[in-house]
Amino acid sequence: MMRFEWAVALRFLWEGGMQTVLIIAGATVGISVIVFISGFLTDLQRDLIRRTLGVQPGIIVRPAEEVARPLRGGAGAGSIEQVQARAQRLRSVDQWQALQAELEAMRGIRAVSPVAAGPGLVTRGDVNKSVTITGIVPERYAAVTRLDEKIVAGDLRLNPGDTVIGTDLARDLGVELGDKVRLSTPTSAGDAYLVRGIYDLGQRNLNRAYAYVTLPTAQALLNLPGGVSSVELAVEDLFGAEALAARLQARTPHEVESWMKANSQLRTALNNQTVMTLLVRFFLALVVAIGVASVLIVSVVQKTREIGILRAMGASRGRILRVFLLQGVLIGAVGALLGSACGYLLTSVMSNVLRGDDGAPLFTAVFNPELYFYTVLGATVLGLVSAVMPARRAAHLDPAQAIRL
């Protein structure tokens, strides 16, 4: 029994001519901006996190901090007024091979990389620079941190006598690819290592921070035989890292920390950005809704006589209500489909136009079908809701009066 409603709603919209075109254009523009902002924000935040975190993993598992456990006397012993915190030694994650296997089998974890990292010095001639000597299994570490994509000279294929350092450290030391530097630690006099690769993380302090060597080399330099100082994880859902870390923490005695906890300021900034864009999207949707509602109200006024005729001929209030609700739905759905297409186009164009200081695109546009599905669904519901008031007005017109007008 919906054919009547479809026939009348479509004809009323068609007859609306420029009025219909303009409101659909308005909905299209509003929805395309909503799609653009949503897509842009997601893509930008993902890329921003990737850039800001540098080589930080999604989740890091470390040995739990050592705490001082004061020995108490028997009954009558007084309370200890001051307990000195213990110095934190470089220790290995207990049973890390078993932990690694267990983590690899877990859902939501994309890659696992054992790391042995500790303080050291890199020396060339009479120049000393303090660095974090980081022992890695290159392919595992690359899977977690994408360090291989940040190598600007040489490569990440580490042999036992090789190291990979950052661009700024290389400049400070005056070394190039193929030169040798000395790596030493407080527990090892160290040895000379060939600069196999140079990385650029896009931040000067990070480009001075790490000297990568193979895992066994770092274990020897840091006096951590067979051990690792942390197990680093890449997660499937970057924004679900905190929840996953909490779940992991519950089942392991180690300390588990997500990137969100370690970078709370970045997280706060991203959250604020999300809230702000949410507000912008809400008000855009409100503007679209008001636009649809006002055009339909005008349409009800313009069509008062026709509504009266239809009512006199035998169209029920429910049918008149559905005719106008359907018009709202059609405007919302068509606006959403056109808006989604325009929004995607805008996102693609802007991803090529907006570039960072290094000339690289500020963000990469990724087609997210879920975003478009929910946009079309949301806009259709929005059109329906916007049409409620005009539709009720139309349905409650007195046919005798409407015809007289």
């Binding site: 029994m1 919906m2 054919r3 009547f4 026939a7 004809r11 009323f12 068609w14 007859e15 006589r305 026709e306 009266g308 005729i309 239809l310 009512r311 006199a312 001929m313 035998g314 169209a315 029920s316 209030r317 429910g318 049918r319 046919p399 005798a400 015809i403």
Partner: protein, 233 residues
């Protein structure tokens, strides 16, 4: 004698009841129209003709009195029941044709069928085309109302009123806006459908010439029926 399609007894209509500006425009109207009758309602402006027609057409509620439509009391019925009764029993022809300008002549005539059956069917299309042919508009059936003359528009309105073969067609000054030739033409159509299909008509008119061509003339004055007599043809 055919049974009554409509039967109104003691019908009153008061606008703004219970307020200082309350106005009673109909006072105890008794009227019935039987199947196949061809009646007209005459009276001066402001006598309550259109109000009475709207009450009979279930477009307004009476303030008092009883109204039976095909033997069924309808004066207290809700909007849905009255709407259904309008669709199934009554047809309307208005003074200003009141066609839907966005739809063609054919679609206008098919509109009651679309409401009743929920879809355009081949049978309705054939019926609508036949009605338009009967009113002499075969060649204009795909034209929209603004493309038709006043007389042609009113003929489409007559065809539309008859689309679902109603028991009674209520016509509010159907020729009031037409020249004499077109008025005769449209009136002739109503008369023809009354004779060939047995449809009852109640026509409001100011034109004594047309009233003289009806079988029965009901005269309304100041909200009271002052005359109700059959005419010899």
């Amino acid at each position: 004698m055919n049974p009554a399609v409509i039967e109104l007894k003691g019908i009153c209509k008061t606008y703004n009841p219970g307020t200082p500006v309350a106005l009673e425009v109909l006072h105890g109207i008794d009227i019935s129209v039987r199947g196949g009758e061809f009646a007209c309602l005459i009276g001066p402006s402001g006598s309550g003709k259109t109000t009475l027609l709207n009450l009979i057409g279930l477009l307004e509620w009476p303030s008092a009195g009883s109204y039976h439509l095909k033997g069924r009391p309808i004066e207290q019925a809700g909007d849905d029941e009255r709407t259904r009764a309008r669709l199934e029993t009554l047809g309307f022809v208005f003074q200003f044709h009141h066609l839907l300008p966005a739809f063609s002549a054919l679609e206008n005539v098919m509109m009651p069928g679309l409401m009743r059956y929920g879809a355009y069917t081949a049978e309705q299309r054939a019926n609508a085309a036949e009605l338009l042919a009967a009113v002499g508009l075969s060649s204009a059936m795909h034209k929209r109302p603004p493309e038709l003359s006043g007389g042609m528009q009113q003929r489409v309105a007559v065809a539309r009123a008859l689309a679902l073969s109603p028991d009674l067609v209520l016509a509010d000054e159907p020729t009031g806006n037409l020249d004499t030739h077109s008025a005769d033409d449209v009136f002739g159509l109503l008369r023809r459908f009354n004779e060939t299909r047995g449809t009852a008509f109640l026509i409001v008119t100011h034109d004594p010439r047309l009233a003289a061509r009806c079988d029965r003339v009901v005269e309304l004055r100041d909200g009271v029926i002052v005359g109700d007599a059959p005419r010899q043809r």
